[in-house]
Amino acid sequence: MSTPVLWIFVPAVVGIALFFLRRWYRTTVLVGALTPLFLTIITLVLPINELVRLGPWAFKVSDTLVILGRRLFLGVQDRPLVILIYILVAFWFSAAFEARAGRMFVPVGLVLVAVWIAALAVEPFLYAALLLELAVLLSIPLLSPPGTPPGRGVIRYLIFQTFGMPFILLTGWLLAGVESSPGDLDLVVRATTLLGFGFVFLLGIFPFHSWLPMIAEESHPYSASFVFFFLPLMVSLFGLNFLNEYAWLRQSTNLYQILRVGGVMMMLVGGGWAALQRHMGRILGFAILMGTGASLLAISVLPSLELFFAMQIPRALALAIWALGLSILQRTTAKPVVENPEIEALNTTPPQDLLPRERLRFRNLLGVGRKLPVATAAVTLASFSFAGYPILGSFPVYQVLWRNLATGTPIIAALVLFGSLSLGIGGIRSLAVLVMGAEQDAWRINEHWLTAIFLIIGILLMILIGLFPQWVLPYAASISEVFSQMTSQTLVP
C-alpha cells in the first residue's frame, strides 16, 4: 500500500465504478460525496512510512509508487493539501443532486480529482502538464453533457488548454539547460517566455480568457464552477512548483511584477465586464477571471504564499453556493415568461422550453427571486463574498491583499478595489432583476427543503468565515509549507 494508491487510484476506481452505476443518481451522489470524506479521515489518521498494526496484520504505507521508471510521490508534507482538496470535493459533491448537475458529474469528478492529485504527485513535476491535459479532456463531458451540442466555449477551452501543454513541456527541457548554465541570458529569457505562454493558456489569462464566460453561459453552472475552481487551483499549484524548484525563477523580481500586472488586468477585466453582463452565468464566468487575477496578485505579494492558500476556502464556498443558487434559478426558468397570460391561454401550442443557455438571461429571470428567495439570497451574497465585500468569507483575505498592495503600489490597490466593487455591481444588478417583475408576486419560499438547507448552511458559513477568519484561514494558510523553498511571513488579518 502507498499514498498514491490511496489518494489517486482509490478515487479513480470508485469514480469508474460509479460511472457504470450512474442510473442510480442519488446513490451515486451519496457514495461520491462519502468517498472523499472517507479519504480525508484516512489521510488524517494514517501514519506514512511507519508500521501500522491491525490485529494480526502489519503493513506500511509508503509515500512513493514507481510507474514506468518515474515516481508518484505524496509525502507527509503533502497531507494538508490533499485534505483540503478532498474536503472541498466532498463539499461540492454533497449538493450535486440538489443542483441536478448531471449523472456524470460525480463519477467523472472523482476521476478528475484523481488525475489532478496525480499531477501534484508525479516526479519530475514537469510531466504534470500531460496529466493536466488528460484532466481537461476528462472534464469535457461535464461541460458539454449528453443531449446538447458542444458549445463554442467548450471547443475553445479544449483548444487553448491543449496549446498550453507543449509550451510547458518544452520549457521543462529548456530549464535543464538554464540550471547547468544560469548565466546564459538568452536561454533564461526563452525559458521564461515559453513558461509564461504555457500558463497564459492554462489559466485563461487575458486575452485568452474568452472561453470562461462562454462556458459559464453554455454549461450547467454547478459542473462549470467545479471545473472553474479546481482547474486554476491545480494549474496554480503546478506553477508554484516551478517557483519552488528553480531558485533563479523564484528570485526574479521581474516575474513578480509581471504577475502583479497580469493579476490587476484580470481583476479589472473580470470585475468590469461582470458589472455589464445581462446573463448571470456570464457574471459567474467573469468572476472566475477576477478570482484568477486575485490569485496571481496573492502570489505576487511575496514573501508569502499564505494569502494564496487562505483565499481558496472562502472562494470555493462562495463559488459552490453561487453555482447551486444559479442551478435552482436555471431549473425554474425552463419555460419562457408569459407576457400576456390571457392571449397565451388561447394559444393551442404550448411554449417551447428555453434553451439552457437562455435560462439565466436577465429577461427570463424577472421577478423569479420572489418565488425563490433563498436561492436569490445565496446568489447575491455569494457574488459579494467572491468580490471580497465586508463580513463575508473572502473579506479578511482581500483586506490583507489590499493592504499589502497599498503599502507599495497604491494605484494597483485602487484598481484591484475597483475590480471588486465592479463585481459587486454585477451582484446588485442580478438582485434587482430577480426581485423586480411586471407582477409584484408575494414573497414565498418555494425551494425544496433540502436545497434550502444547503443554501442557508452555505450562507451562514460565508458569514461565519467572514466574522471569525481565525477558525479556518490559519489552517488553509499553513498549507503553504508544502512549498518549502518559498519563504513565508505571518498572515495578519
Binding site: Y127, L130, E133, I140, P145, T148, I155, L158, T162
Partner: protein, 201 residues
C-alpha cells in the same frame, strides 16, 4: 536498402506535409480518417529517427486508434457534414493558398528555430513545424468537432515529433499516447453528444 533508410527522413517529412495539406482541403470525412492514418505513419517514421522503433510505433498505434474512434463516431451519426462544407470549391482555393503561406512561413522560420533547438535535425524540425502550422490553420478555420480533433491531433503530433528529439522517457511516451487517444475519444464524444440521451434531472 541503406539508401532508402537515408531517404526516410525526407520521405516522412514530405508525407506528413502532403497529408496535412490533404486534411485541410478534403471534404469527405472518410478521406479525413484515411489521411490521418497515413499521417501518423509518417509521424512514427519521423519519431523513429529519435526513438527506438518499438517506442516510435506507439505514436502510430495511438494515432490509428484515435482515427478509428473518430471514424466510428462519424459513421454512427446522421451527419450534416455535407451541408456544413458547402462553401467549396472557393474555400478549397483559399485553404490551398493559406497552406502555402504557412509553408513559406515555416521554411523562413526554420533557421531561427534550429538555433534555439540545435539538437533537433533540420528535417525533423521541418516536419514538426509544418504539422504545427497546418494544425493551427485547421483550428482557425473551423468549429466542426471532427476537424477540431484532427487539427489538435495534427498540431500536437508536430510538437511530439520535435519533443521526441529531446525527451526519451517511456512515461512521457505513454502519457502523450494517452493524450492522443483521449483527443480522439473526446472528438468522438463531441461528434455524437447532441444525439445522446439527455441525462439531466
Amino acid at each position: 536498402m541503406s539508401k532508402l533508410l537515408d531517404l526516410l527522413p525526407l520521405l516522412a517529412t514530405m508525407l506528413v506535409a502532403a497529408t496535412s495539406i490533404g486534411l485541410l482541403i478534403s471534404r469527405d470525412w472518410r478521406w479525413h480518417i484515411s489521411l490521418l492514418g497515413i499521417q501518423f505513419a509518417g509521424i512514427a517514421a519521423l519519431t523513429s529517427l529519435s526513438w527506438p522503433l518499438e517506442m516510435a510505433i506507439t505514436k502510430m498505434v495511438a494515432g490509428w486508434m484515435s482515427g478509428a474512434v473518430l471514424g466510428m463516431a462519424m459513421a454512427s451519426v446522421s451527419s450534416n457534414w455535407g451541408r456544413e462544407e458547402r462553401f467549396w470549391p472557393s474555400g478549397r482555393i483559399f485553404r490551398i493558398l493559406a497552406a502555402l503561406m504557412v509553408a513559406i512561413t515555416v521554411f523562413s522560420a526554420i533557421p531561427e528555430i534550429s538555433k534555439i533547438l540545435p539538437q533537433v535535425s533540420e528535417l525533423i524540425m521541418v516536419g514538426g513545424i509544418i504539422l504545427i502550422g497546418m494544425g493551427l490553420l485547421h483550428l482557425g478555420l473551423t468549429a466542426q468537432p471532427l476537424r477540431i480533433s484532427i487539427g489538435l491531433l495534427t498540431m500536437l503530433s508536430g510538437f511530439e515529433v520535435i519533443y521526441a528529439s529531446v525527451e526519451t522517457s517511456i512515461l512521457v511516451a505513454g502519457l502523450l499516447a494517452g493524450v492522443n487517444i483521449g483527443l480522439g475519444l473526446i472528438g468522438a464524444y463531441m461528434i455524437t453528444v447532441s444525439e445522446m440521451e439527455q441525462e439531466y434531472e
